[in-house]
Structure formats: structure tokens, C-alpha cells
Amino acid sequence: MIGRRSFLFGTAMAAASAATPAWAGDLCCATGDLGLIVERAAGSLLLIDRSERRIVTRIEGLGDLSHASLTYSPDERYAFVFGRDGGLTKIDMLAGKIAKRVVQAGNSIGGAISDDGKLVAVSNYEPGGVHVFDAETLDPVASIPAGAKTIGLADMPGRRFIWATWETGEAWIADFSGPEMKVTKLADVGKNPYDGVLTDDASTYLVGLFGEKGVSAIDLWAKEPKVTRFLKDYGKPADDLPVYKMPHLQGWAFTDGQFVLPAVGRHELLWVERQTLEPTGRTPVHGQPVFIIAQPGSPYVWVNFALPDNDTVQVVDSRTREVVHTLTPGPAVLHMEFAPRGAEVWVSVRDANKVLIYDTRSFAVLGEIPAESPSGIFFTARAHRIGL
């Protein structure tokens, strides 16, 4: 028996070595549990190992990283970092180095990568519009003027990008699936859209409005995109508080058949039934919500808040819509990033110069990463998600 087993094992080994890929000799490490933390004041990134909860290296020289965001190539080898100063920087995650950097505009706000990983689009404030680059070389591919600041840029399936415009209140799509780029105005969405987000099934583009009450939903599966306005009156504008930080929508949670949205200028979360867009409830919270992010594999959403309530994070159960836990990570909590299966969450605490790692079940602090004014935290698992 033993002899036969080892014979079989030996055969399997031989088969495996016959199929050994050419790059096997270079194997050193994989990128699937790596991530980047933005150090906004220093213009640097911390390359971290999520499983080992440690810093691998610091990457410097990225310019002004206030409000920086980034996206990953489909193989998780490269990150594309969108800096406030218009810089587009390609990071090699295995080398821990800048692979390429261009300054593509005066002032930019975010970006996205096409579903095939070939195109990187950057959303600009100055001069406005969207610039599209070859992901390999960072050579310019297209420039789409908008005459306005562009916000909420997201990738759509089929080499397409979608965005909205702040001053003119429009939503646009650029389609790169054919030999020629096609740019189409989708709809008027309302006054001063501050951010937009694509649902996880890419069926709906949601646009949050600052200049008036409400949220616009565009049905992207319909033949003729139709705009539905909802949450048009969640309280009198006269009662609204000053907004010291715009909410972000990339983390808008879609959970338990509901959307949960930030009430602009109010200490509330707003719940909406996903199918009908009818409001289903409100949750009073600690401050004005900035990020509302669903904890993967759970009914919970985590919320952080704008100045002056930004030392706190609350956890809300989407079934009861009640706050079930309140944490105080420290001064200026800017961002939260979950492990892809939800077991832990990394929280950046800007003015404490650290990132805290919490167990999402026990709320125990599992680790701490020293970081200089940390803001966004981005794990490579984002590479496989639509609209991030």
C-alpha cells in the first residue's frame, strides 16, 4: 500500500514539475494580502502586509497626497495613485518602488481602471474633465473636457467609465470598447453632485447631491438610462449643520436589501429599500457621516464622522438600524478598510499618527501601524471589485 501511494505521489510530482511555469525560479512573494496606506502630509505610501500586520517599506516622492486615492491592476502587481496635485503614479507592489510617474493635470481628485486593466482614467478639478492613460506606459490615450470639476469617477464593465460634474450637475459615460471612444451624456442629475458610486452589480449609478436635497439613481441596465430622484426631503435645509467634510460614497453600503446613505449636514444615516428606493428608516448617529462601509459577510456597517466628531467610529446593525457599538480610535479618523472577508478592519487615525487594526467581532485592537498623518487605506483585493 505504502509503496503504491508513494509511487502515485512521485508521478504527481513529476507531472507538476513538467508543468512548472517559466517564472517559477523568480518566485518570491505574492501581492494578494498587501496594501497601501496614504501618508497624506509626507507625500508617501506605506506598503503593508495585511496578514503579518506590518510595514514592508515606505515609498516616497508622490507629491501632494491630500485626498489621494488609488486603484490596482487586475493582477494586483501595480497600484495607480491619484494625487491632489495632478500626479498619476504607478507603484510596483513587488519592488516596493515607483515604476512611473506623470503629472497629468493641475489638480485631480480620483480615478479608476478599466475592467480589462488596460486604461486608467483620472478625474480632474483643474482644468476639469477626465484624462485617460495607457496603464502600461502612462501615455495619454484620451482627454475628455467637461468644463467642470469631475467627481465620482468609476469603472463600468466593458471598458467604460462613468462620472458626474460638480458645477453642471451632469452624468457622463465614456465607452472605450470600440475602435473609437464614445462619450455620451447620460442625464442631468441635480445641483452640485459631491460624489457618485456604482452599485456592486453595476446596475445603478448613485449620485449624492450637495446643492439640493436628494440622491439621483441612474438605471444603467435600462435601454434608455432613466434618472430617479429619491430622498428629496430628509429635513429642512434650515436645520442643517455646517458640513466640514463632504461625505464619501465609495463606501456607501448596500446591505440587507437596502442602501444606507449619509444625511448631508445631519447626524443621521438614511436607509432606503434597494428595489423601490423608498425610505425605510433613519439612524441617529454620533456626528455627520463621512464613510459608511459594510463589513463583508455581516449585517453591520461601520461609520466615521466629520469634524468635530471625527474621533469616533460607530457600528450599526442593518437589520434593526441601531447603533450596536461605539469605538473611539482617536483624533481624526479618516478611513476604514476591511479585510476582504471581514474579520478585521484597519482604521486610520490621522492626528494620532497611526493605523489601528480591530477584530470586527470582539472589537479588540489586534495591532497598530505607525504612520505619518495616515488617510486612505487600500488593500489589493480591491483589484477585483467593480467601481472601486
Partner: protein, 102 residues
């Protein structure tokens, strides 16, 4: 013989200047980090307009301080009066006018 009143005076002025330095540091931090959320950390603009020395050349410090305190209705610029005193707003206005934004 130690001149006690002189030492006390020196210590007091040291305390005041260190408190002022701390305030300045706190306000500068707030300008870059929190105002910078909209205006950019280097204050060259974002969703909000640039706050560089050149961009503010035509603005008097008093007028700037009142914008900081009361915001600009109908825009995304909020009133900071709940979080800042008039002296602090004026300090920020003067700081911006000096153009030490690099």
C-alpha cells in the same frame, strides 16, 4: 541674589510664547489638514478655491476672517464660527495672506 520678579516675568513670557506657538501649530495643522480637505493640503485648491497668496491678493484679512467665520451661503464653504474664535480666524487669514503655504 536672584531677582525673583524678573525670573517670574521671564517664565511667564516663556509660557505665553509657548502657548502662542502651540496655538499657531494647532491652527496651521487645522488649515492644512481640515481646510485642506477641500482646498488642498498645499492650499492650491480642490473642490474649494485656491488659498494661495496670489489667489487671495485682493482680499483684506478682515474680509477673509469673516468668510472663515460665517462661510459663503449657497456654496460648500461652511461657517467655522462653531469651531474657531474671531482671533483664530484672523490668525488664519493673516497666515494665508503671508503666503507661507509651501
Amino acid at each position: 541674589m536672584l531677582d525673583r520678579p524678573a525670573i517670574a516675568a521671564a517664565m511667564l513670557s516663556l509660557c505665553i510664547s509657548s502657548a502662542a506657538a502651540q496655538d499657531a501649530q494647532r491652527l496651521e495643522h487645522m488649515l492644512r489638514q481640515d481646510c485642506g480637505a477641500c482646498h488642498g493640503m498645499t492650499l492650491k485648491g480642490g473642490l474649494g478655491r485656491p488659498l494661495t497668496q496670489e489667489a487671495l491678493a485682493d482680499q483684506a484679512p478682515d474680509a477673509l476672517a469673516s468668510i472663515i467665520l460665517d462661510g459663503i451661503p449657497g456654496t460648500a464653504m461652511p461657517p467655522w464660527r462653531p469651531l474657531l474664535s474671531e482671533d483664530e480666524a484672523l490668525w488664519m487669514a493673516n497666515y494665508l495672506k503671508k503666503g507661507t503655504t509651501q
